[in-house]
């Protein structure tokens, strides 16, 4: 079964995304922050990660860098998910390291399609 890891410090968002992913036939894992996410990745190998950016103490970009530095995880596609726009600095700095930048609010059916496309 295809597994998607949802990393977000907002429990409502985690629940919402998990609900839709389950409905679409994915298995889900959740983490409430960067540290938990990195711990999980030592034990499991999800097929895709939804990664929130505005988190404390480690923000999504820092988590992304660490994921990409963990051997075996470089190939996991990561969707950056945020309620803020992507800055020029971030675009330049992290270009190529993430699969897609998703602005909240996102239509669930649209998100499900994007995930399915990315995993094809």
């Amino acid at each position: 079964m295809t597994t998607v890891l949802i990393v977000d410090d907002n429990p409502d968002i985690r629940d919402l995304f998990a609900t839709f992913l389950t409905m679409s036939g994915f298995s889900t894992l959740t983490a409430s922050g960067g540290e938990e996410c990195l711990e999980l990745l030592k034990k499991t190998h999800p097929d895709l990660i939804l990664l929130d950016i505005m988190m404390e103490p480690m923000n999504g970009w820092e988590v992304l860098t660490q994921i990409k530095n963990q051997p075996g995880n470089e190939d996991i596609p990561v969707f950056m998910v945020s309620g803020k726009v992507l800055s020029d600095d971030e675009r330049k700095k992290y270009d190529g390291q993430y699969k897609m930048y998703i602005m909240k609010p996102v239509r669930p059916e649209w998100l499900m399609k994007a995930i399915a496309d990315a995993l094809e």
Partner: protein
């Protein structure tokens, strides 16, 4: 003309007497007549005449030339030589060694004597005025907080004031007549040379801002280059007036830095707020679609309206980012504060 006091130095009695008559005839007072160099120096000191008429060839040890030089240096009294026609070689020597204010070849004529005296007195008064004004400007230059150099041939230093000596951390005496390149870093020296060349060519003032590091301190100098009239055909002069604007620059940079930090704080606040507003919007949108009902469309429309409002704030954030990048680029603070997320 007020009565000028003249000292006559002449060892021939007849000449001395006729000189005295002649001088008094043209409105001068002969304060004394002496016949040796030694006496001349003594009389100059005691009587303080306005002018001295000095025979070059005198009785006694001291020649007229020596006496004249001593008097001019110590008491600043103008001296006119007079001499017989046979003393041409001596006269030439006299003209070369000192700075006589004139000379008269015997036998003298009254007209000639008068014009020589008037010319010598005039020249002397001009010299005094020039010295006074030179001293005035020198004093102004010395107390100036700006560093002043005058650069001349071979890019050597013709003048340096106290502030300039302080800037390059040397004694003025160790700088004068030395090449400018001895005191400044090589790169800076070449830069200054090229500006000096430009100023000489165009004969126009110019200005240069320089930043340099000494030890672990940074300095900023604002230097004006001013072409001066050459001393003579072969000696050009360029004045450099250097102002240390380090404090001012540091203050400006500090203010810019504060401004950028404040801007970054505001921007971060923007981002946090936008993210926080969009999370509940996302939840509302998601839940509404999860269980569709008669109001689903309306709720989605309302959620979209909130999202559009937040997008306007995004635009403000993008503009702020541009302003911040501009400021960071222009104030070179990118490395220190640009690394924040």
């Amino acid at each position: 003309m007020e009565k000028k006091k003249i000292l006559v130095v002449e060892d021939e009695f007849i000449t001395a007497t006729s000189l005295k008559v002649c001088l008094e005839g043209i409105g001068c007072t002969v304060v004394s007549t002496v016949d040796t160099g030694e006496q001349a120096v003594k009389a100059a000191e005691e009587l303080k005449p306005d002018l001295i008429l000095m025979d070059i060839i005198l009785n006694g040890e001291m020649s007229g030339i020596t006496a004249a030089n001593i008097i001019q240096q110590q008491y600043d009294i103008p001296v006119i030589y007079f001499t017989g026609q046979s003393d041409e070689a001596t006269l030439n020597r006299a003209l070369e060694s000192g700075e006589p204010f004139g000379y008269i070849v015997k036998p003298f004529e009254e007209k000639n004597l008068k014009s020589n005296i008037m010319l010598a007195l005039y020249k002397h008064s001009m010299d005094l005025r020039l010295k006074a004004s030179e001293e005035l400007y020198r004093t102004i230059a010395e107390i100036s907080e700006d560093g002043i150099f005058i650069i001349t041939n071979n890019y050597s230093v013709a003048y340096v004031n106290a502030s300039a000596a302080r800037i390059i951390n040397r004694e003025p005496a160790a700088i004068i007549n030395q090449p400018f390149s001895d005191f400044v870093p090589e790169e800076m020296s070449w830069q200054i040379r090229s500006v000096i060349d430009e100023v000489r060519e165009t004969n126009k003032n110019t200005r240069m801002l320089q930043e340099f590091t000494s030890g672990d301190r940074k300095f900023w100098l604002d230097t004006r280059f001013i072409p001066l009239a050459p001393v003579d055909d072969s000696r050009w002069q360029v004045m450099m007036v250097i102002r240390d604007i380090t404090d001012q620059v540091i203050l400006e940079e500090e203010m810019a830095r504060e401004g950028i930090i404040q801007l970054e704080k505001n921007m971060e606040q923007f981002q946090i707020l936008n993210d926080q507003i969009r999370n509940p919007v996302q939840v509302i949108m998601g839940l509404t679609l999860l269980e569709k009902g008669p109001y689903t469309k309306k709720i989605l429309e309302q959620a979209e309206m909130i999202d559009n409002l937040v997008s306007k704030l995004d635009k403000g954030w993008i503009d702020s980012e541009k302003v911040r990048n501009f400021l960071m680029y222009h104030h070179r603070h990118g490395v220190e504060i640009g690394k924040k997320n």
